[in-house]
Amino acid sequence: MSAPRVETRVEPRVEPRAEPRAEPLVEIHNLAKSYVRGEQIVPVLSDITLDIQEGDFTALMGPSGSGKTTLLNLVAGIDKPDCGTLRVGGLDITTLTESQLADWRASNVGFIFQFYNLMPVLTAYENVELPLMLTGLGRSERRERVEMTLSVVGLADRMKHYPNELSGGQQQRVAIARAVITDPRLIVADEPTGDLDRSSAADILAMMQRLNTELGKTIIMVTHDGQSARAAKAIIHLEKGEIIGNVEPASA
C-alpha cells in the first residue's frame, strides 16, 4: 500500500470491527479527471487516492466546484476517469464498456439526488419498482419488495401518489426506497438534503444512518452542510480537486 493511501484512509468513528478488515469496497489510486471545454482542458480532480471500507458512511465536503460531484460520479460509474485506478468491490470499473457499466450500476449502486430525480409520470410505487424492471423478478415478487421498502421509509399509505403530490422530504424518501430496492452494496448521495428544510433533512439523514447501521450499506454522501456531515462516520474534504488534510472524525 502506498503512502498517500494510508494518509487518506477513512476510518470509521464507531468501534472497529472485531475481525480484521478485508479488501476495501472502494479503492481509488492516483485518480485524475478533467473536462474539455472548447479548446481548454479544465482539470477537476487530480491525484486522488482514497479507500472506503465496506460499511462506511462517508461525507464528502468542500467548496462549490471542488469536484465533489465529479468524484462521486466516478465512484458510481456514471463517468470515466482520465487515469488512475478505480476498483469497487474488487472490480476495476474503468475497464467496463458503457453497457457493462450500466448493468453493474443497476445491481451495485443506489443513487440519491439533490432534486430526487423521480419520474413525474410514475407513482411512488412505480418509481420504486423502476430499478426492478431490469431484473428478472416477477410481478408479485416486485410488489412484495416495493411494498416492504416503501413501508420501511414510512410511505406505505402514499404508494399511489405521484411525485408532485408529495412533499420534498417524502419524495426523497421515495428516492431512498428506489436506491435500496435492488439491495446494492454502495449508495451514493449528492446533497440529498440540499433542497429540504431542517426537519425533513434530519429525517432523511436519520434514514440514511439506519441504512448504514441496520442494513450495512456503504454510503458516500456529498454535502455542503457541516450539520449534515455529522450524520456520517467520517468526513473527507476536497478542495480544488484534491483531498486535503487527514481523516477527520465526523463528531469533531
Binding site: 460520479n73 450500476r105 439526488f113 432534486f115 419520474m119 409520470v121 412505480e126 430499478p131 431490469l134
Partner: protein, 384 residues
C-alpha cells in the same frame, strides 16, 4: 407493458400540447385523404367513359357549334354505327347551387349509352312527349322527382323559362355510373330556337359517335376530321375518354397543385411534430439521464421517444383516417355533380397510414438519437 405505461403518460403530460398536435395530425391526414380523393375522382370520371364512343366537336372550342348537317356526313364514315347530337343546356333549377348537367339530345342518344337503363314504357312516353325529359336516378333521389312531375328550368345559355315533364327515370347499370343528369329532346330545343333566335338554331354542341370496334377509334377519328378539313367549321374528334381528359387537362396544373399541396400538408405536420418531440425530449433530458443512471440503456431511451412519437401519430392519424370517409361523403354532397365518383380508395387509406407512420418516425429520429447519446453527467446537470 411498463414501457407502454411510460409512453402513454409521457404523451399526455402536456395535455394541451398533445391535443393540438393530435388535432394538427388529424387535420393533415384528413386533408391529405380528401385531396387525394379529389385527384382520384377527377380521373375516375374519365376512366368511366367508353372507348367505343367518340366525341366530335368544333376544333376551335367547345363553345362553337357544328352545323346539324354534319350528322349524316359523319354517319357515312367507315366504322361509324351511330351518331347522336348533344347540346349543353346549362339551365338553373330554382337556384344556382342546385347545379346538375342538362343535355338536349337526339332520340337515339340512349342507344349509345347502354349503361343507362330506362323502362320501355317510359321510353315510349318520353319519345311521344315533345316537352318530355328524362332524369337519372341520383338526380331524382336528390330532388324527389317523380314521373309526371313538371321540371322548370331557367335558361342561362338559352334564355327564358323552360318547362319539361318528367317522363322517365333511368338507372345506372352500377353504382359508379353518373346519373345525376337530365336529358330532353334536342328537337324541342331547336324548334324553340327557330322561333325565338333563328341564328342560333341548327347548331350542335357535340356529336357522340358510336363505332363498331374500339380498335378503330383512332382511324375513325382521323377519318371524321378529314371529312371536314378546310371547311368553315373544322372538327376535332377524339374518344369520349380523351374528351373527358381534355376537361381534366385544362385543369392539369390544378391537379398537380392539389397533389403537391397534399404532400406539403404532410411535410408541415412533420415539422410541427418534430418540434413537439424535440421539445418534449429536451425537457426530459434529466429524466432520461436518471433512467440511464439506474441502468437503462440508450436503446431503451430511444425506444421511449420513438414509441411516444408513434403513439401520438397513431392517435392523430387514426382520427384523421376515421374522419376521411364521412368528410368525403359531405364533400361529395357539397360539390354537387362535379364528381360523379367520389370514394376514398384503399390506396389513399394506405397512404394516410404510411404518412402518419412516416411523420412519427421522422419526428423521433433526431430527439431519439440525441437523448440516447447524451452523457449521463451532462444529462443530470440539465436540471441543476
Amino acid at each position: 407493458m411498463f414501457l407502454l405505461t411510460l409512453v402513454c403518460r409521457n404523451a399526455f403530460r402536456h395535455r394541451l400540447r398533445t391535443l393540438l398536435t393530435v388535432s394538427g395530425l388529424a387535420i393533415a391526414v384528413l386533408a391529405y385523404g380528401l385531396l387525394q380523393t379529389v385527384v382520384d375522382a377527377w380521373y375516375a370520371g374519365a376512366a368511366a367513359a367508353s372507348s367505343t364512343r367518340l366525341v366530335t366537336r368544333s376544333s376551335i372550342s367547345l363553345t362553337f357549334f357544328l352545323p346539324v348537317s354534319y350528322e349524316n356526313r359523319i354517319r357515312s364514315v367507315e366504322g361509324v354505327k351511330h351518331v347522336a347530337r348533344s347540346n349543353w343546356f346549362g339551365g338553373i333549377y330554382q337556384e344556382p347551387k342546385n347545379f346538375f348537367p342538362q343535355f338536349a339530345v337526339s332520340d337515339n342518344y340512349l342507344n349509345l349509352y347502354p349503361e343507362f337503363i330506362l323502362p320501355e314504357d317510359q321510353r315510349i312516353a318520353y319519345v311521344r312527349d315533345r316537352k318530355g325529359c328524362l332524369v337519372g336516378r341520383q338526380l331524382a333521389d336528390q330532388f324527389g322527382f317523380k314521373v309526371g312531375d313538371v321540371l322548370p328550368l331557367r335558361g342561362a345559355v338559352y334564355p327564358g323559362r323552360w318547362e319539361f315533364v318528367i317522363r322517365g327515370i333511368f338507372d345506372g347499370s352500377d353504382s359508379t355510373k353518373f346519373t345525376k343528369q337530365m336529358l330532353f329532346h334536342w328537337d324541342y330545343l331547336n324548334e324553340t330556337l327557330r322561333r325565338t333566335t333563328p341564328r342560333r338554331a341548327d347548331g350542335v354542341g357535340i356529336f357522340v359517335v358510336g363505332i363498331d370496334n374500339p380498335d378503330n377509334a383512332a382511324a375513325a377519328s382521323v377519318n371524321i376530321d378529314q371529312v371536314f378539313r378546310n371547311s368553315l367549321a373544322e372538327t376535332l374528334t377524339e374518344t369520349e375518354q380523351a374528351f373527358q381528359l381534355g376537361f381534366v387537362a385544362m385543369s392539369d396544373q390544378i391537379i398537380a397543385a392539389i397533389q403537391i399541396v397534399s404532400y406539403v400538408v404532410i411535410l408541415i405536420i412533420m415539422a410541427v411534430m418534430a418540434n413537439t418531440m424535440a421539445m418534449s425530449a429536451r425537457e426530459r433530458t434529466a429524466e432520461y439521464a436518471t433512467l440511464k443512471t439506474l441502468g437503462f440503456g440508450p436503446a431503451f431511451i430511444a425506444l421511449l421517444i420513438f414509441a411516444e412519437s408513434m403513439f401520438i401519430c397513431a392517435l392523430g392519424g387514426g382520427v384523421g383516417m376515421l374522419l376521411t370517409s364521412p368528410a368525403a361523403a359531405g364533400f361529395k354532397q357539397a360539390a354537387g355533380g362535379i364528381f360523379p365518383i367520389f370514394a376514398v380508395s384503399r390506396e389513399t387509406i394506405t397512404m394516410q397510414l404510411a404518412c402518419a407512420a412516416a411523420v412519427g418516425i421522422a419526428a423521433a429520429v433526431v430527439p431519439a438519437i440525441r437523448a440516447a447519446r447524451v452523457r449521463i453527467v451532462d444529462g443530470l446537470r440539465a436540471i441543476t
